[in-house]
Structures are given as structure tokens and as C-alpha cells.
Amino acid sequence: MFDRLLKQHTGPLTRDLVQTPGDFGLGKVPARLKPAAATVSICGYCATGCQLKIHLDDKGEAINLSPQAGYPVNLGMACPKGWQALDPLAASDRATTPLLRDASGQLVHCDWSTALRTFTEKFHSIKKNHGHEAAAFLSTGQIPFEEMAFLGCLWKFGMGFLHGDANTRQCMATAVTAYKQSFGFDAPPASYADFEESDVIVLVGSNLCIAHPILWQRIMRNKRNPHIIVIDPRATETAQAATQHIRLKPKGDLAFLYSLAHCIIREGRIDADSLANTVGYEAFADFVKHHSPEKNEACTGISIAETEAFARLVSDPAKRVSWWWTMGVNQSHEGVRTAQAMINLALITGNIGKPGTGANSITGQCNAMGSRLFSNTTSLVGGHDFANAEHRQKVATILGIPTACIPDSASLAYDEILDAAAAGKIKALWIVATNPFHSWIDQEKLLRLRENLEFLVVQDMYHSTESARVADLVLPAAGWGEKEGCFINSERRIGTTKAVRKAPGIALSDFRIFRLIAEAWGCGEMFSRWTTPEAAFLILRDLTKDRPCDISCIQGYDHLDAMGGIQWPFPESNATLPRERRLFADGRYYHPDGKARFLFDPPSELPEAPDEAFPFLLLTGRGTSSQWHTQSRTAKSDILQKLSPAEPYVEIHPEDARALGVSENDHVIIRSRRGEVRARVYAAPTVSRGEVFLPMHYPEVNRLTHSSFDPHSRQPNYKACAVSLRRSLS
């Protein structure tokens, strides 16, 4: 009794943690964070496209969030980035006003009028003096596609410039090109349900557990006791969790996939029905004759027996086999052919268009898929072709603009834009929601090129990114959570995001910034119907009519929310369309003849193979699930920061570490022909001897990478270059 009097079971500190029913289907929540309302929004990080339930206070301001149960993508789950999605909005380094570089070289605050005047004067003068090819935008896969489309249309149709590309070039250009060439349209065929329906799941160059944890969740829900095979030079978290790890030599993937096709065709394990829907099989079969496992063993590092056994597994007619790839394939000097080698395997074994099958790209950024359809860079907005006169006519009519405004050629690719800038042909860049001064391959080259630019505009949430710091003009943008619009995820599902926080200072959504620029440039009239993101959405919807990505029956944002997102295509009003749909069930592809193509080329040499001076091969990739790309956002969350090492570290094989005389936690200098980086040693047999791995999130890493590109997709080859290591004495 006396003891009880002595115990304080309640009080102010205890009350801090008291929970109360949160309603809105949430279960208990902290009492002081009980929502007055809730809404849903698609996460703004990766292309998984998880839906989050945002907890709002009585002013409509977000106070917390949790993953949305019942959404067909994430089923009530999210990775740490999603859970902490509100954190980066409150960062102290948000850009709150436009910033203009003054005569002394300092970035100083200015108002929107000054910023817009400077912007239009500079670009008008560059266009007048150097022509419409003398400036370019570099945009992003991180903003709603209404904004991407506005930017692309404003730049090309309104302002009359030609070149613009996006960081999606660093992310999934390879998949785009592979699909376009093979299927006749950029159409990732899968639905996430295929993860649960598959018997054999092959993950190529994909660290799903870390890069897309929610998709790994879908694999874990597979009740068919699947074989899960990871093909990766590194023993990633996913390789550890898989049933089999095929640890091939870096860039041995293309040869290995050809050897599989060789074995499958040699043993006659092909699917004639599927081949009937294709063109070019004979040539392909001829080609892979020269790719026996014996011949390729030296290049793949995989034994003949293992290759043959695996070939039998993925051609077992009783099994549903699905192929999935991510950046290990996309970011390669021969990524397009590697992706197509998987498409070829799916075609010859009939593993396409059926549940649990497909050759499926898992995209990186939240709206890379939106960019593919609507960014108006490589393809004409709405899934059209700049070179096609009918397409230009159609787009002009729907947008209500003169056909002559639409150029008949696509833009230069990202690397070509930068080369043109280095050569002095491009005088100005407008960078929107991306951070190339951290993320672009061979960083020093970009820094040198900065000196050649007459004008560099960076439009971003933060004034502190590597790119904003070197800009002449910074335009302060609202971030995810401060604006609305739509994203498209890896399974072609369109979902909405909402404004649930006010933007700091006089920052504006990218959409509103584009409206201001249209007005200031003098082409406001052309965009008079683009008043809100949803108004723009309806215009874009109409553009897709009769294209493979036809979504003309989506009514608007409410419809998308009510349906739990909608996958394209959605061409006719049909309430019975299942929530999860895959493409090509009818065996018809998008080439005019309805047939898929076999595309292949012999594997090529590594662009920069290790040699005596630089004896190690550097692999790069995702570090942890709590880090995103250049960390401009994830570095602003205390919790996410806790979950990843603060300083760069390099994974190195323990034997190599021993040979170099370094032990765990020592520092080493990693040097390539282009630069050097200091990193802490993490000695782990996750990499093979002669290989080292650096996570891409640290700004130093791209000092090392080698500027080489896939010839078809122009995607940079981030994941293989030669480096040397030595102990750091400091």
C-alpha cells in the first residue's frame, strides 16, 4: 500500500506516450497525434508506388502517416522512407525564396518577379543569339506527371526549345528502349500479383530486399513455394534471402542469358505457341548456337553444370517463370540487350502474358513510368512519336496548339546534352528536381562544364543540393506532400498524391512555377486550360486515346482513389476489369504486325576493365533501404540517418583487405582514372576478390565512375569501372 503511494504511475511524462483509438481504420495512435481527418497519397520515393494514409489535423495539415491497408500495391506496409516521408519537408535547408547569384558571386534572396524576369530574359536572349538548340532542361522522375508534361510542353511547344531530358535516363532508359524495340511500345507487362503467382522468380541485378522492400513482401506472400534465384555478382541482402544465388562475374549477365537460351533451344524446350507471336526466332537460335555454356564459362564464371541445370529450371513447362530486373541491368553499357535477352527467354519458353510470368522491369523512381508516357522528351507526350506526323497532328489538336509548334525530332539524350554543353553549344540548363552534380557519372566532368554555361537554373526543394549550390538562379519548389498530382508505378498503376503541408516561405509547386514561367515568357494563352494538376490530368488522359497506354476512361482523381489506383491501359469504362492486370494475355504485341521481336548482339568488352594500375572493379548500388539516391531528402530525417552509415564505406573481400594490410574500420583511398574517394573498410565476403562495392548515396562516389553508356538507351554504366585501393594514412 505504502509502496503504491511512492510510485508515480501517471504524470506529464507518462502522458506523452498515452495512446487512443485513432479511427479511420488506424487502430491506436499517440493521443497527441490523433487525426481529425485522413487522406491517401502515393509515396514520393520509389516506383513501387505504396499508398500512404496521411493523418491530418483539423487544419488539413499532416501530423503523421501510416501505410494504407488494402491498397493493392503495399497492403498496409511501407519501407522506412515511406514511413518518414513527412520528415524532409521540415528541413532547415528548404529553399524558401528564389535565389539569384549577385555580382559578388553570392546567391541572394529575390522575389518571384525578379526571378521570372531574369529567367525569361536570359532564355530569350540565348534563344535569339544561339538558336533553339542552345538550352536544355534536365528534369526528373520524382514529380507528378502533370508537372512533367507541363514542363515538356512549355519548353518545346511554348518556349520553342528542342532539348530536354530527365534523370530517368539514369534509371530506366534501358528498360524503355528494350520494351520499345521488342514489343513495339514501352510496356512493362507485369502486375505485382505475378510475384505471388510465380514458381520460379529470377531477379537479375536487383537487390529487391533493400531497394524495393515492399516487392520482396509480395514474394514472401507467394504460397507456391517458389524458387527465388538472384543473379548478381554481389551477395546482396536479397541474394542472402533467396533460395539460390548465381554469383556471376560482373557484366557476365548477357553471356549467361545467351547460354541459357542456347541450352533451352539445344534441348528443344521451347514453346511453339509463344514463338508464333514473334519475328526473328531463327536468327536468334542461330546466334545463340555460338553461346554454349562451355564457351561462356570464362566470361560468366558459372560452371557448365550450373548453367544447364538453371536453363532446365527456367524452361520447365510445368512452372511459371518470371524474370525481373533492376539497375544491375539498366545501368550497364549493354543493358538494352541484356534486358532483351530476358525478354527473349520469356518469349521462347512461353513465359509471358500468363500469371506469374514475364520479363519485367522494376523501375526506380516514383514517377519514372509517368515520365515515360508524359515527359515529352524522348517520346511525344502521351505515348506518341515526334517523328510521326499523324501523332503531331493529334497532339496539336487535343492541346489546341498549332502543329508547327511540335518539333519532328526527339531531344538529345542526357549525356549528349552535357557533351553539347561542354562543347559550348548548349549555353543554359534548367535543372528541375534532380541533382546531377551528385548523381551524374564522372562528376568532375560536369563541374568543369559548369564553367561553360552562361546560365544555370536549379528548381528544387532545397538550396543545399550539390546542384543548387552552383546555380545562377534557384527557384524554390514545393515538395512531395505540398502539392498534388499523379504517379505511375512499376506495374503501370496510376495513383494520386495530395497537398497536406504548406510549402515554406514563397516556395511554389513545380506546376505553379511552370504556370508563372508560361505567363512570363508570353505563352500563357497556350496553357490557359492548364489551371490545376487535375485539369492537366484530363488533357493528358485525352491524349492517350487509342495508344497502348490509353487511359481515356479515368474520370479524375476521385475515380483513381476510389479504385485503389488504376493500371494502364484503361480504355473503356468497365467496372469488371480486375484490380491487377498484366499485358499480352492475347499474345498480341504493339508492333504493327502484332508480333514481338528478337533482338540480340554479341556481348562486348567491359568499357574499363581492371588492369595492373587499377586492379579492382568498382560496383555501385543502393546502400540501405533508408537512403534514397543523392540523399537530398533522406539525409533530413533523423530516423533514416540512424539507419545508415554516415560516412562512405567500401565493401571489400576480407582476403583483399588482408593483402592491402587494412582491417575493418580502417580508411582506404579508392582511386580511378578520374578521381579519388576516401572510405571506411567493411571487410565482407559479399563481394568477390578483385571487386569492391560503394553505395551510391555519398557525393564522392561519382568522382570515380566511368563515363560509358548503353548505345541504344544512352543510360550510364554506373556499375563497373577500374579502381585501385590503398591504405589511407590520415
Partner: protein
């Protein structure tokens, strides 16, 4: 133009209010109910049972959603989460093997935190076995942090208390799953009812990760389960016997706990000076007065270690199990002595005054040494290698002995060397090939803490000539030497914990 700018800025500053179209207003049962119903027990624990976390290692891939969910659904501070994810490596037996490990409080059968708390701010719920922390009872002494072999309770500077995982007891009691259980995309964490092992069975406690084995792997850096009988179960994947934590060899110095460094050295110096057998009080070396001042300064310093010192009067609640309670009691008993030693001789005559003086003088050492013994036991009871009884006793009593012999150089010099020798010999552990807590501590001392180590040795050696010159010259140097020694004691200890990730 300005009109449009103003219009768009005003639009940007307008949020849809809850009444607007996307608001969703219903009271309904939790949407994830169906998902987690199978992840929590159908019934409350029966007699001899308690709730425990069960982690399926083969389902955990280190996405760390559990950490974020714990933070968000419990409304914790910016950097605060009660769950953490680390990494185990296979070691010699399976060099390629890796496993991520998610950890929260183990809700131990015999919780170190609870046993160590001086004010009873921990309770183990009788029906569920959940180890609860009473935030408003806590005085912020942080002893539970030292007592927990798994580094679970975390100090909140802002609040002046520690907080820790309560297994979301509010959710469990409403039939909802804890935040981490709800949030794990691969259902790797669940709550189960487990049978208590009972402390009698302690010698047969199973190895944490090898449920089939009782062999502890001392190189793993993962603490033995014998200490507190943790209840978490790790299942689903065999763990090689040679496993170890990925962050095992990260040389990160521990918190210095400055108030404790000062409290320990100053009280030990004070007790030594007051109780030292000096021939006669000398006007040139008023050791009693100096001792009293140092002692009281030490006592004052200890207060700064508490987040809520005003609540510390409840210290007697922990006397049964907590050496910290006992220390507070012992020091309270000793507290009047230095004052009496200084004041009594100068008071006017009163009956039995001489006896009082004698009694005070003769109780100084016994009570003082008893108090120091309780200090020693506080650290010994944490089961940390560097703080084992003989090592801590040598340091603490050694300090007292040095100050007690400050006026007698022929005694001080050998005593000081005697104290220094094991400290120097300890450094040889740094070159051991196999990891051990001692190797780790020695490497910390020779690595990031090297400047402190050098200063410690230099000061100790300087004391020798100074002592030959005059006790008052030696005193500040000895004090500095001992403070540095104590800083090393705190900062270089290998603090047991669950595996962390590499460099984070």
C-alpha cells in the same frame, strides 16, 4: 504578372480542410486487424508464461520498417526508436553467411534494468511479463542503461529520463499488434506466449541465437543470456557458432559520464584524505579540510548526473536489489563525517566531546570504505569485463589509498605504481588476435582514447617527484591523474549490446 504570382502563392498556402472531398471519416476497427491477428497470441499468457517477441530470421531482410513504425506509431522524438536492426556475420565457420537482426527490449525474466533501478521505476507486469518503465518515477540516473546487457533503455536529454520499448502494451491490451509487428512487410516479428525458464534453470539458459545449444560464443560480442534471461526468440535460420556482430570492432568510445567520473574520484579522494593516517594535523597540509571539500564536491557532482534529482528521495525503494540504492544509503551515512571531523575539534567543550571525536575518526575509514565498496559493486554488477570486481576494486580503493598516503611519499610511490601497473599491463590485450571485450577496451585506449591514456600516465608519473616535494604540490596532479584514469574507465569499457550494423 504580380496578380498571378499572388494568386498562386495564395493557392499554395491553402490546404484542403478535413471537410473537403478527400477526407475519410469513419470510426471503424483497425484496417490491418486481419493481417496481424495471426501474429499475436489468441489469449493472454497463462500461469508461468509471458509475452515475448519472436523473430523469424529467415523472414527478416533488414528493410528496417519496424524501426520507423516504432518511431511513428508511438510518437517518439525525432531520433528515437525502440527497435533497431543490426547485422550478424557468420565468422570462421561460415564466412559468407549474413543475417540481419531486429531487436527491441527483450522483456527479460530477470531484468537488469529493473534490478538496478534505485527508485523502482521499472515494473514487470504480473500477467504479461512486459517490463514497463514508469516515466514519471524515473530520476534519470541512467544506471539501467549500464545494467541492461542489450543497450535497450535510452536517455532523453530533453526529458531527463530514459524511455524504452513497452511492447506496445496499450495496443496488445486492445487486441492490436505492437507497431513493429504491424509494420513488418514480411511478418518476421510476432508476439508469442513463452514459458518462463525460472532463475533456477539459469545455468542451462539457451544461447540467444542457437536455440539448440547452450554454448555461448564469447567472441560474438553478444552478451550471455545468463545475466537477465531475455525472452525474445530468434527462429527460422541456423546461426553458425562462430557468428559475431558486424559492429563488434567499431572503436567508438562510450559516454564519459562526467558527473560520475568526478563523483567517484572526488569522493574517493575525500575519503582517503579524511581517513588517512597522518601523524598529526599540519597547518601546511590541512588534509581533513581538503578531504571534506573534495568529498562534498564529489557529492555535488553526482547530482548533475540525475535528470530529476528532486525525485531521488525514493532511493530506498531499490535497496533490495540495486547497488545504486545501497550506494546512496552508504554515502548518506558517511556524509556527516567529514564535516564532523573538521568542526568537532573547534566546538566548545561538551560532555564526551573527546569520545565523539574519537568515534568520528574511527568510523571514517570503515564507513568510507563501505561506501566505496558499494560504488565498486555498482559497476561490477553490470557484468562488463573492464568493470569486474577485482579491476574496479583496485581502481576505486587504489585511488583512496593513494590520497590517504599523500603525505607519506614512501607509501604513495609504491601504491601509485601498484595501481598503474595493471592499467599498463591491460594494454597488451590490444594485440590479441581474437576479439574479446578486453581486446576491444585496450584498442579503444590505444586508439581514439590515446591522448587521454598518455595524459593519465604522464600525470601519474609527475605525482612521484611532486610528492617528494610537498603533498600540496602532488595533490592537484594526483587528482588530475585519477580523473583521467576514471575517464578511461568509463570511455573504454566494452558495452554489451545486440548487433548493430556496420558503422551505424
Amino acid at each position: 504578372m504580380q496578380t498571378l504570382i499572388d494568386e498562386l502563392l495564395s493557392q499554395q498556402a491553402t490546404l484542403q480542410t478535413p471537410a473537403a472531398r478527400f477526407a475519410e471519416i469513419h470510426e471503424r476497427s483497425p484496417d490491418l486487424d486481419d493481417h496481424y491477428k495471426q501474429l499475436i497470441p489468441l489469449s493472454k499468457p497463462g500461469p508461468g508464461e509471458q509475452y515475448a517477441f519472436e523473430v523469424a530470421l529467415d523472414r527478416c531482410t533488414g528493410c528496417k520498417a519496424c524501426v520507423s513504425a516504432c518511431h511513428s506509431l508511438n510518437g517518439l522524438d525525432e531520433h528515437e526508436s525502440w527497435r533497431d536492426v543490426g547485422l550478424l556475420l557468420g565468422g570462421g565457420q561460415a564466412p559468407d553467411w549474413q543475417q540481419t537482426v531486429t531487436t527491441a527490449c527483450h522483456h527479460c525474466e530477470d531484468p537488469g534494468c529493473l534490478n538496478g533501478c534505485p527508485v523502482g521505476a521499472y515494473e514487470k507486469e504480473a500477467d504479461t511479463g512486459i517490463v514497463r518503465h514508469l516515466d514519471d518515477q524515473c530520476i534519470g540516473c541512467s544506471y539501467c542503461i549500464l545494467k541492461c546487457p542489450y543497450d535497450v533503455p535510452k536517455y532523453s536529454k530533453k526529458r531527463g529520463i530514459v524511455r524504452k520499448c513497452d511492447m506496445c502494451h496499450q495496443r496488445l491490451s486492445a487486441g492490436e499488434a505492437p507497431a513493429c509487428v504491424q509494420a513488418c512487410p514480411t511478418e518476421a516479428i510476432r508476439i508469442v506466449n513463452v514459458r518462463s525458464q525460472g532463475s533456477g534453470d539459469r545455468n542451462h539458459t539457451l544461447n540467444f541465437f542457437n536455440q539448440k545449444s547452450t554454448i555461448q560464443n564469447h567472441q560474438s560480442s553478444i552478451p550471455s543470456s545468463h545475466i537477465t534471461l531475455p525472452t525474445t526468440r530468434y527462429t527460422g535460420r541456423d546461426v553458425p557458432h562462430t557468428h559475431f556482430a558486424a559492429d563488434r570492432s567499431a572503436l567508438i568510445p562510450q559516454h564519459a559520464h562526467w558527473p560520475l567520473v568526478l563523483m567517484l574520484t572526488l569522493t574517493q579522494a575525500g575519503i582517503g584524505l579524511c581517513g588517512g593516517d597522518f601523524q598529526a594535523p599540519s597547518p601546511f597540509f590541512p588534509h581533513t579540510i581538503i578531504g571534506a571539500i573534495l568529498f562534498y564536491l564529489g557529492m555535488a557532482a553526482s547530482v548533475f548526473h540525475l535528470g530529476h534529482p528532486l525525485k531521488a528521495w525514493r532511493f530506498f525503494l531499490g535497496l533490495k536489489t540495486s547497488w545504486l540504492s545501497r550506494e546512496i544509503l552508504a554515502f548518506s551515512l558517511f556524509a556527516p563525517i567529514p564535516l564532523l571531523l573538521c568542526v568537532l575539534p573547534h566546538l566548545p567543550e561538551f560532555p564526551l566531546k573527546h569520545h565523539f571525536i574519537l568515534l568520528t575518526a574511527h568510523s571514517t575509514l570503515p564507513i568510507g570504505l563501505l561506501a566505496i565498496f558499494t560504488s565498486v559493486m555498482i559497476y561490477h554488477d553490470t557484468h562488463r569485463a573492464l568493470w569486474k570486481l577485482p579491476r574496479t576494486a583496485l581502481r576505486f580503493f587504489g585511488t583512496t589509498a593513494c590520497f590517504a598516503s599523500l603525505g607519506i611519499p614512501m607509501l604513495l610511490i609504491p601504491l601509485l605504481l601498484l595501481k598503474l601497473t595493471p592499467e599498463l599491463l591491460f594494454l597488451r590485450h590490444a594485440s590479441a588476435t581474437e576479439w574479446s571485450p578486453d581486446q576491444h577496451s585496450a584498442r579503444l585506449q590505444l586508439g581514439p582514447l590515446r591522448p587521454i591514456l598518455i595524459a593519465r600516465i604522464a600525470c601519474a608519473l609527475l605525482v612521484l617527484p611532486a610528492a617528494l616535494f610537498h603533498p600540496l604540490a602532488a595533490l592537484p596532479i594526483l587528482l588530475a591523474a585519477e580523473i583521467l584514469e576514471r575517464q578511461l574507465f568509463f570511455q573504454s569499457v566494452q558495452s554489451p549490446k545486440m548487433p548493430g550494423g556496420f558503422a551505424n
